[in-house]
């Protein structure tokens, strides 16, 4: 009984994590390709090495970066927090 419960919990956790990270990866690809320069002016013209480097973090923290991208105005310099 306990084992079945553990398996059910594990399956749910795996599924939720899979959905979160899959969505995060898709968002991250779009973000590093198009959105990063809108959010942060210092990322405009940045190399693909930099974009690939931040991709895992964007995939993991995609709700935060999605919010920042949504608030950033296209073409305007992204406001740097100090």
């Amino acid at each position: 009984m306990a084992e079945t419960q553990a398996q059910t919990i594990a399956t749910i956790l795996q599924t939720l994590a899979g959905i979160y990270l899959s969505g995060g990866l898709m968002f991250a690809i779009a973000f590093v390709t198009r959105g990063v320069g809108t959010v942060d002016a210092a990322a405009r013209g940045a190399s693909w090495g930099f974009r690939l480097l931040i991709l895992p973090g964007v995939a993991a923290l995609w709700p935060v970066m999605l919010t920042r991208w949504g608030r950033a105005k296209p073409g305007a310099a992204g406001e740097r927090q100090s």
């Binding site: 553990a6 594990a10 956790l13 959010v39 210092a42 895992p56 973090g57 970066m65």
Partner: protein, 356 residues
């Protein structure tokens, strides 16, 4: 500190640092493997795959101890400061080692069953009430998740876009991760090893890390110059001759606000003691190329206005300062970040004295 982000701002110092790091990691794992092969022989021999995954795991844990010690060591002795500059490279390397250890372990111990390795990892052992048979792998998995988040955000892009407070809070999770890893080892590998060497080594690591933090913490809270003055009065820092050229004295006000008073040539300027980057103690830095230089990561500020030299845009608060009868005085009211303040001029200088 580049105007456009780069993946890594390579310089000679970083290449040497990373080269030594790579040699150290490879050398450690190789030595662990060789010593283990020589120690455990015959009936006690351990499979090569297990030795490799253990070696990688131990290397990650040792590296984590080193990383945790660098911060307090740099506070206690400035000679350790160069280790602090590239600590993020150590952190990312440590995460990669932990990841390899995790993947090898999951593959070796959970990879040949009827369920998926992750499913097996999460469900094979649910004896949370047992100390001897505790599912220690889950502790390692939780620590790995934290280390991943830290490694993935180890770039100035994240510092700028999460904000210093959120970024610092995220990276302070290294301490819970450390606790999880200590328990991962204590409830895991140490349960099957009889030798007293393992608990001794692990215990020594915990004691060293804890002691260094306590000592560094007690010293950093002891201000160099504590002042008890009502708001608005000029603060007497003491004799000008006590202020070395290119260095600072720190003033700590009531409420813990800190001011760094720097002497640069025949001028004296005062600015916030907190670096805009990660709040490093500027008063522990020095003047390099005419700029106050943070001892932690090299961020710089022009002394008279607290602004980073172009094209960088960091700004910190400045304070009014004067030299009177050979003594240095600073006003405790902070001016806006980047505000220009005429430096105080030392007596005998050819430059005109600033107005009061």
């Amino acid at each position: 500190m580049s105007a456009i982000y780069r993946a890594v701002q390579w310089n000679r110092h970083k290449r040497v640092y990373d080269g030594l790091l790579a040699l150290g990691v490879v050398g450690f794992i190789a030595a662990f493997f060789v010593v283990s092969k020589l120690t455990w022989t015959g009936d006690h021999a351990i499979a090569d795959e297990v030795l490799i995954l253990r070696g990688v795991g131990v290397a990650a844990l040792v590296l984590l101890h080193i990383i945790l010690c660098i911060g307090p060591l740099a506070r206690l002795d400035p000679r350790f400061a160069p280790l602090l500059y590239n600590r993020r490279h150590l952190g990312v390397t440590m995460f990669l080692l932990a990841l390899v250890h995790g993947l090898l372990s999951i593959g070796y111990y959970h990879g040949f069953g009827v369920v998926s390795p992750i499913q097996s990892l999460l469900t094979a052992n649910t004896r949370f009430g047992s100390l001897h048979a505790f599912p220690f792998e889950l502790l390692g998995l939780a620590a790995l998740a934290i280390l991943f988040l830290m490694a993935a955000t180890s770039h100035d892009f994240w510092l700028a876009n999460l904000g210093p407070r959120a970024w610092k809070s995220l990276h302070m999770l290294v301490y819970p991760a450390y606790g999880l890893l200590v328990m991962h080892v204590a409830l895991g590998a140490m349960q099957s090893e009889r030798s007293v060497l393992y608990p001794l080594l692990l215990g020594a690591g915990v004691v060293i890390v804890s002691t260094l933090h306590l000592v560094a913490g007690s010293r950093s809270h002891a201000p160099r110059h504590e002042v008890h003055r009502p708001g608005g009065d000029w603060i007497d820092l003491g004799d000008l001759s006590d202020l070395p050229d290119g260095r600072a004295r720190r003033v700590t006000l009531r409420g813990a606000e800190r001011i760094a008073v720097f002497r640069h040539g025949d001028r004296v300027s005062a600015l916030s003691d907190l670096c805009a980057h990660q709040h490093g103690p500027l008063s522990e830095g020095r003047i390099i190329d005419g700029c106050v230089t943070c001892p932690w990561h090299g961020y710089q500020y022009v002394p008279r206005n607290g602004q980073s030299p172009p094209p960088f845009t960091q700004r910190i608060a400045t304070y009014r300062v004067r030299v009177d009868a050979g003594r240095v005085w600073v006003h405790p009211n902070a001016l806006p970040p980047g505000a220009d303040v005429e430096p105080a001029v030392m007596p005998g200088s050819d430059a005109p004295a600033p107005p009061r």
